[in-house]
């Protein structure tokens, strides 16, 4: 029984420690004004978020984790944090498109534009479990 408690504590603790709660955005990684103002063309199609989830699991979990909380070892953004969620759809789209290669975030411009908007739709659904 004690072993189970110990193991559960260890697993939960590893999960917390693996999250990048200390994420600090790169101040130089800013979307231009025109990009930040772009609305998500799929905003009226919430069902498209399902496709976004599939794309997220395929392309993003390696660094951001399945729940988007960001892996510390990858210095990846915790996408659940208000500092990310408060950014406009256009900003998130621009960041996915261009990446930030000097900080390890690749460009996903190879995905068609609607798929990048689907990713934005899904990122909006990432919320802390508690």
């Amino acid at each position: 029984m004690k072993l189970w408690i110990l193991l559960t504590t260890f697993v939960l603790l590893s999960g917390v420690l693996a999250q990048n709660t200390a994420y600090q955005p790169d101040p130089d990684w800013r979307a231009p004004q025109a990009a930040t103002a772009k609305p998500n063309p799929l905003a009226s199609k919430p069902e498209a978020a399902a496709g976004g989830k599939k794309l997220f699991l395929r392309n993003c979990t390696e660094c951001h984790g399945q729940d988007g909380s960001g892996l510390m070892k990858k210095h990846a953004a915790d996408l659940q944090l208000p500092v990310v969620q408060s950014q406009s759809d256009g900003t998130l789209f621009w960041k996915i498109t261009n990446g930030n290669p000097d900080r390890g975030m690749p460009s996903f411009s190879k995905l068609p534009e609607p798929q990048r908007w689907q990713l934005v739709l899904f990122i909006r659904k990432l919320k802390p479990e508690n």
């Binding site: 069902e47 261009n98 690749p106 995905l111 068609p112």
Partner: protein, 290 residues
């Protein structure tokens, strides 16, 4: 002879199994997308050459290891061989290729600089680039294998994305460092587009979003001793890629020869497998802390 065929077959088969990312369908043209940092892509491809009268069929497989060194730099190693019907099966050499993307953000035109060193023999048939004048295809493997070539290939890659279309142009300059034969020139142009631009919510293998179709046009532009289209090889090649799984994709391209110096057709097939976070996995294997 028989054992060499078996070795080559097993080599190709192993490469296929070990392999995996939505890949552009191009075989000759490069676009501006580099490998993600820390990822390793293993690819096996082959070129089958349909002969003209008096020539022989050939099958030229190659293994490609592509690694994302940084967000601006991708490096690749190639190992290649070929088998000519009625002749022999031989290893034709290796190549090291580097692509550098100087500008970080997406632009209307995205330039990439390409530099490749080739240690191959004249028997190489993979046709990764078509440069200079039309190749001599009547030599036996024994003859052409004896002629080693240390070559330097450079490309200026210009690539754009417009309305979900990729448009890429490559300008190629190659120099044989072994022979004093000047520079050889070539080009590769391509366009491609996914068959569907929205991702469905379900996991499916045959959804249209998993396919990218395009067309390539490539050929030689002569040498410094004779620049132009005279006695050069040119191909038009429809191409398609199919993402089989999250990490694996398959590509096919039948290239049609457009001039007398071209093969009537080149059939290209490629399979690639991407290992995400390869550098981290490798580091952990050797005891590095996560």
């Amino acid at each position: 002879m028989r054992s060499t065929y078996i070795t080559l077959f097993v080599f190709s088969l192993f490469a296929s199994v070990a392999l995996q990312a939505q890949e552009s369908p191009y075989f000759v043209t490069y676009d501006h997308h580099l490998e993600e940092p820390g990822n390793l892509e293993i690819e096996t491809s082959s070129t089958v050459g349909v002969p003209r009268a008096g020539q022989h069929w050939f099958f030229a497989p190659y293994l490609e290891l592509e690694y994302g060194v940084t967000g601006h730099w991708t490096s690749e190693l190639y190992l290649e061989g070929q088998s000519t019907a009625g002749d022999s099966t031989i290893f034709t050499g290796w190549r090291i290729e580097n692509r550098f993307r100087p500008r970080a953000r997406e632009h209307w035109i995205n330039p990439v600089l390409y530099l490749e060193y080739e240690n191959i023999s004249e028997a190489s048939r993979i046709r990764k680039e078509i440069v200079g004048t039309a190749p001599e295809l009547n030599e036996s493997n024994a003859e052409s294998r004896a002629a080693r070539a240390h070559e330097l290939e450079t490309r200026l890659i210009l690539s754009s994305t417009a309305h979900n279309w990729n448009i890429s142009e490559n300008f190629i300059v190659e120099k044989n460092l072994t022979e004093n034969e000047g520079f050889e020139f070539g080009y590769a142009l391509a366009v491609a587009r996914p068959l569907a631009t929205l991702a469905s919510g379900k996991n499916c293998r045959f959804c249209r979003e998993n396919f990218i179709a395009g067309v390539e046009l490539y050929g030689g532009l002569g040498t410094t001793q004779g620049f132009g289209l005279h006695d050069t090889a040119h191909y038009a090649a429809p191409a398609i890629s199919w993402q089989i799984s999250d990490n694996a994709s398959l590509r096919f391209s039948p290239a049609i020869g457009l001039t007398h110096g071209s093969n009537p057709a080149l059939l290209r097939l490629g399979y690639n497998y991407e290992i995400r976070g390869f550098s981290g996995k490798l580091a952990r294997l050797f005891g590095a802390k996560p």
